[in-house]
Symmetry: D2
Subunit: 213 residues, 4 copies
């Protein structure tokens, strides 16, 4: 099995992005999996273009994009990407679209097709805080989740895809107040657990994992 | 203009639901609007059935469903409902579906069609904390938002629809720790501002209102 | 019984201070209580000077100072004031002492002598979120609590004293993210309940109200 | 220099206490420091008795007690211990005093005498989230901070003392919602930085580190 993992470059005034930092450190993954990593720019259109090119050249079985979610307390397995850009801040190219569709011919939303409940369960069994999230926001992270699933829907129907949000690193919250963080080692381990779960799970499990609101 | 407002009955161990309490108190609304209110049961299937019947009999121009979002800090204008039930707790009929579709023939998601950005702006101008939310959860609130937009899509194409989440009332957080609340008066005023905004807004405005994650 | 209530003027970039706003609105208080109100400047030294002058002229039986605690979720009955100024921001006179004593000849700390547990209990019975707090911070609020109890200890041994922190008003959190608030009506009612409790309580009650950390 | 570090045993339904776990893992400390570690029971009276015995036998230059502060986001250098027990839950011996003094002949409060501002600064320089805290709560952690400083005041005037609160470990928050955590490696490193700072700091620095409320 070939898994493509993407992470983003730093944005929003940060000098580091934990998503790509953790991906680079992955070593201890499932023996039957080949892991390919790729850094994506935090730029709406270009991120999708680079992802499309990478999917075409790598031809993975699974693609999992990852990104930084400052303010989150745990590893968040995103359930759905929506056809919307509503940029709170400019992307790394200075572009700040408001209430625009990502693809005019795309569905309203696409659900992730990696086994998010099984991954959350396995992460927790390994002592790593994790949960299912029902929004990836409206910035570049949602854009790449939606974009990945759109590309899969249109061009790569055999690929499974998903997105994972990770908290700030401890060093990123030093000058912030009451901001949760997670160590790079824990995030990296979470990704290793995710790879193993994807490699060994045919169908997602039914576990309680929703939210009231 | 005829606006149908729905609220839910209490659930999750609460003895009151601020959504319907506030709807009942609305008095000071825009003179050109006729407001019809309806309490819905916090039951997945039945809530949609009651809503469908009410839409058929009331024939409103606009339907806004409202619900309690314990833990939220402000009035949340929901942007999208998704085709998923993942019940963290049983509904008021003891039913707790996990990872099921709401309608097999429905889209992945439907976007709200009320002017959420304009409403948020007007609420803030009136001193009421408000924001756009990109997830209504996976419980009955999301179910009725999705259900309303599904019904509109299939049967009532001329109706505009949306959903608003409101925080706990102060009396509901007395035995909870660090839980935000909002007074019934403020929530009621928020609804009155919303009605006025819907009555006077043809097309939503473009204002920054997204989230990074 | 004569109760002196003080509130502060706005500080920290705010245009309003809910503490003094609420005090001004108190009308429905216990018939046997005479309520005198006074606005204090958010200035370390001057606040204590004005308080001292007011205590001398008013000769109250009880003094309760109140202040704004942005970020708090409920009405906080402060338990203790400490002999320390560690100003995170300048006061309204531009003064920003760091790690200085308030009074060189004062105790390390003084405990409040109003019935904080009874007040919390009564507020909750009236549907108002309230709790005991074990820190009033290290800015002007702690300074006036400590100062009041110091003055009582040194000059006015028959006066009982305390301090109450109140959350932001809704209108103050409109441009803040995930910031709790409380309506002016609820804060005012809380003060009225406090006055009644002080007027009718000889000795504080023993109720669980501590914190683990 | 001889530093005594204490941690607590698990309490409040937890099966592990990060404070003592981290202390046990300290290896990389300043060469001129001898580190002695001791586990204290989470029992009001006994914790102080064991600490007193340990101070008498170890005769350290510095004592730093540490404890778990579930809900905190960073390493908290406690500034002050207060003469009060107000137990929210029973201690590990089933004792739950409410609003009682720790020592009848003790001061209202004692300030820590380790260089808390310098320690916070050094931790942050090492990428570790840290801050000064103005309350250690009213449970056993505050009790041992107050008790340590009381014993120092009465019997061991040459010893410097303080207290550090640490967040939950990641594995402790798996079944909690939106609860911050910190890895054992980061907490251990924080303690190593603290030891080095204490060993090399004669007088604390003046840095902004207070709170508004």
């Amino acid at each position: 099995m070939k898994i493509l993992l993407t992470g983003f470059d730093p944005f929003g005034g940060e000098s580091i992005n934990p998503s790509y930092e953790a991906i680079k450190k992955i070593t201890n993954h499932h023996p039957s999996v080949e892991v390919i990593t790729k850094e994506l720019p935090t730029i709406f259109k270009k991120a999708i273009e680079v992802l499309d090119d990478t999917l075409a050249s790598v031809k993975p079985d699974v693609v999992v994009c990852t990104g930084q979610a400052g303010g989150r307390f745990d590893i968040s397995l995103e359930r759905i990407g929506i056809n919307l850009i509503d940029a709170k801040i400019p992307d790394n190219d200075g572009d700040q679209p408001i209430d625009e569709k990502i693809f005019a011919d795309g569905k309203e939303a696409y659900f992730s097709t990696i086994p998010i409940k099984a991954i959350v369960k396995r992460m927790r069994e390994n002592g790593i805080p994790a949960s299912v999230s029902n929004t990836a926001g409206t910035f570049v992270c949602n854009c790449i989740l939606y974009g990945a699933m759109y590309l899969i829907d249109k061009k790569y129907p055999d690929i499974r895809g998903g997105f994972v949000h990770v908290p700030f690193l401890p060093e990123q919250v030093i000058d912030k107040v009451n901001m949760p963080s997670m160590s790079l080692e824990t995030i990296t381990q979470a990704f290793e657990v995710m790879i193993e779960t994807i490699a060994t799970t045919d169908q997602d499990i039914k576990e309680i994992g929703g939210t009231i609101s």
